[in-house]
């Protein structure tokens, strides 16, 4: 897809959802999704959404003036930077994580692959000051721009009822989070079939695949489905054998090193994105519990067909590779030794070829209509 067409289709997605429509949507949700959780100290308003959207795409909030939130969470790429394995920030510096989609991220209880923050608000401020993302030293440049820019000033007044000169990073976070709370996408063929009871909404293969998802595939226990909505995440952290094996031989050295570094007060956000080895600790880097060694957050499966590559390190390029990894019992290469710290929920599945293909067909049925064109384009041009 050529960049101009991509940009245009991204704008179409956002334009097609007018501000009002998105505010309305926050109240009445798409099929298959529950009401969006909204913190009581940051209610949604049209003005806040507009401000948040502008902040989200503003490249001036980076040290080079070239990187914004939308650089890695591009609207025309289902709010990822697919097909990049690792996200890229200022000076083309590569991080250690694959950018997760922001579509439906409003439903997560914790943000980042390792759950470093517990709100969209809190998450939004970290990339600004991360050396490999936007590379600012502090928030001053952001506040300087938003307080004085002629386009921002009326938005700030409308959103927060305060003079722009009084704006702090707290309001910036709240506006960005509010915008992100409108990025909810349901209404997939699966939703119409399962919650909408439309008999032909998904084909036979996907229907068989759904049974695999519930039974032999053992997927639903973590990629959860509820009675009248499906988030496809349990909001928990599991070691499924991705990434951790790379540092297996170094754990004896790295683990006490990490614990001591934390006791001395290092910034975990910077350590995790700046060092490939530290990045593999996953949730353990925060919780320091053995149960969390190499454990990463269960992502949503909504729109998974358009958010390749997969896993926290983007190491699995296709859905087939993902299913093979699970089928092998938590190793990508079947001759590899299984992680000692593997979640107790992961075991060899012994799926047949038919079951694997059906399961992939099911996952492809989780794409919301707003991304259907993107899915078609990706399928047409591999």
């Amino acid at each position: 897809m050529n960049p101009v067409a991509g940009l245009l289709s991204g704008l179409v997605i956002l334009a097609g959802l007018s501000i009002a429509a998105r505010v309305g949507m926050a109240a009445g949700v798409p099929l298959g999704l529950p009401p969006v959780p909204v913190p009581s100290d940051n209610p949604i308003s049209a003005a806040k959404i507009a401000l948040g959207q502008k902040l989200f795409s503003d490249k001036r909030f980076s040290s080079t003036g070239l990187v914004s939130c939308s650089s890695c969470h591009a609207p025309d790429k289902a709010f990822t930077d697919s097909p990049l394995q690792f996200s890229v920030g200022i000076h083309n510096l590569e991080g250690t994580r694959n950018a997760p989609t922001l579509a439906n991220a409003a439903y997560f209880k914790r943000l980042f692959w390792d759950g470093r923050t517990s709100s969209l608000e809190e998450q939004s401020r970290h990339p600004f000051v991360n050396p490999v993302e936007m590379g600012l030293h502090d928030y001053a440049p952001i506040l300087q721009i938003v307080r004085t820019d002629a386009e921002y000033q009326p938005l700030v007044r409308a959103a927060f009822g305060e003079e722009p000169s009084a704006l702090g990073i707290g309001e910036v976070k709240q506006a960005i989070a509010t915008f992100e709370r409108t990025l909810i996408f349901g209404d997939s063929p699966f939703d119409r079939w399962y919650f909408g009871h439309e008999a032909g909404a998904i084909g036979a293969a996907a229907q068989r695949g759904f049974q695999v998802f519930l039974q032999d595939g053992r997927c639903v226990s973590c990629h959860t489905i509820e009675q009248d909505f499906a988030l496809f995440t349990d909001n928990r952290f599991h070691n499924i054998g991705v990434g951790i094996n790379r540092i297996r031989g170094d754990l004896l050295r790295l683990t006490p090193q990490l614990l001591l570094a934390k006791a001395r007060g290092i910034n975990v956000d910077k350590a995790v994105l700046g060092d490939a080895d530290t990045a593999e600790f996953g949730r353990f880097a925060l919780s320091e519990r053995f149960d969390d060694l190499g454990a990463f957050k269960t992502p949503t499966l909504r729109n998974v067909a358009v958010t390749a590559p997969y896993m926290h390190d983007g190491s699995l390029e296709t859905l087939r590779a993902v299913v093979d990894h699970y089928n092998n019992g938590g190793v990508t290469d079947p001759t590899d030794r299984v992680s000692d710290y593997l979640s107790g929920g992961i075991r060899p599945l012994h799926l047949t070829e038919q079951q694997i293909n059906d399961l992939i067909a099911f996952m492809e049925a989780l794409t919301s209509p707003q991304f259907a064109a993107l899915a078609a384009a990706q399928a047409a041009a591999p």
Binding site: T117, L259, A263, G265, E288, R289, F290, D291, V338
Partner: protein, 357 residues
């Protein structure tokens, strides 16, 4: 919890330095603690490695032991030694003991073995002894006297005359809730050895007994039982501070009988439910203040775990590393002179049912 962590956060880690008694300490205080009186050892138990056929073993039990060994190796600072608390094998076969020993061989610290009934009853401990040494022995470490016992013996007739084959005998003993079973005991010979061994130990020296069976009478139907518990406890009575760590029950139990603190170990393999208590005498029952939730069958490690014991001036503080669950910490409380869960308080007197939530 967000990105900024204080020093206390470091101490909570599984790799933390020792806690003294029931009180957390700062890094500063620990720097001045008397290292000689404070040390840790890990306790891994009830692996139940099970041979299916040939070189094939039950994956679930293998993974439990592999994980406990891997995590023990990550403890920083390293524990002084590791105890394997018995029931390495499921049916006592050489294949099982070898496979289990191979997994245990990855442990960095020195390993002491305690025999369990599932290790013993096929060949009466012959192969176990080849791998792990004597079935009962003692050693001293940093001023603490450690005693290891074989607490899974039973009466001679059942052991030698009752069953046509060793395999049959092993299977009968391996069954829980078995009317053909026979109560576990330490036995007269070992008690005599223990009496002799303890003669040379000063009354003020802390004593730690490492056992598979509980050295208490908990529930006879499941052989959560030591037939000569009273006699064994009487031998330990003269000492000021005694700790008994035991496996076998696959659940968290803790108890205080006179001068002896009892702590059970979690199994790496699978949990057992809480037995209905068989009240021989009310004060010998362990106090289960906070029963664990039922294990989630999706996660095979739920309901399993391993532990390390911080020993400070002869008092035990047991940290349970559990999966899909928060950790538990049962430590000696000097105010009440017994082990208590450091997070959950006693619910005695019991609240009315309507107030449970």
């Amino acid at each position: 919890m967000d990105l900024d962590r204080g020093r206390r956060g470091f101490l909570k880690a599984g790799g933390a330095l020792a806690l003294v008694g029931a009180l957390p300490v700062t890094l500063m205080e620990l720097a001045f603690a008397k290292a000689a009186e404070t040390f840790s050892f890990a306790f891994i138990a009830d692996a139940h490695i099970q041979n299916i056929r040939g070189n094939e073993f039950v994956r679930n039990w293998d993974r439990g032991l592999i994980r406990a060994v891997a995590e023990t190796n990550l403890l920083s600072p390293m524990p002084d030694f590791v105890v394997f608390g018995g029931d390495l094998a499921e049916l006592g076969s050489r294949a099982e003991l070898d496979h289990g020993a191979e997994i245990l061989s990855a442990l960095r610290p020195k390993l002491y073995g305690v025999i369990g009934e599932c290790d013993y009853y096929l060949d009466l401990g012959e192969y176990w002894s080849k791998l792990f040494g004597a079935q009962w022995y003692s050693f001293d470490h940093k001023g603490v006297h450690f005693v290891v016992v074989n607490s899974v013996l039973t009466d001679d007739d059942w052991t030698h005359n009752r069953w046509p084959t060793p395999e049959r005998r092993m299977r009968e003993m391996a069954l829980t809730d078995n009317p053909n079973g026979s109560p576990l005991m330490v036995g007269e010979k070992q008690r005599a050895w223990l009496a002799e061994d303890l003669k040379k130990v000063d009354r003020k020296t802390p004593v730690v007994v490492l056992s598979h069976a509980p050295l208490q009478k908990i529930y006879r139907g499941w052989n959560f039982w030591t037939e000569d518990a009273d006699e064994v406890q009487a031998l330990l009575k003269p000492f000021e501070r005694v700790v008994v760590i035991y496996g076998h029950v696959h659940q968290i139990q803790y108890n205080q009988i006179a001068n002896i603190s009892f702590h059970s170990a979690m199994a790496t393999s699978r949990p057992l439910p809480y037995p209905r208590s068989y009240a021989q005498a009310a004060d010998t029952l362990p106090k289960l203040v906070v029963p664990m939730n039922r294990a989630d069958p999706f996660f095979e490690r739920d309901g399993t775990g391993w532990q390390f014991v911080n020993l400070a001036t002869g008092r035990a503080d047991v940290y349970y590393n559990l999966y899909n669950n928060g950790p538990r910490n049962v430590a000696f409380n000097p105010a009440t002179s017994r082990p208590e869960d450091t997070t959950y308080q006693s619910v005695d007197p019991h609240p009315l049912p309507q107030q449970q939530y």
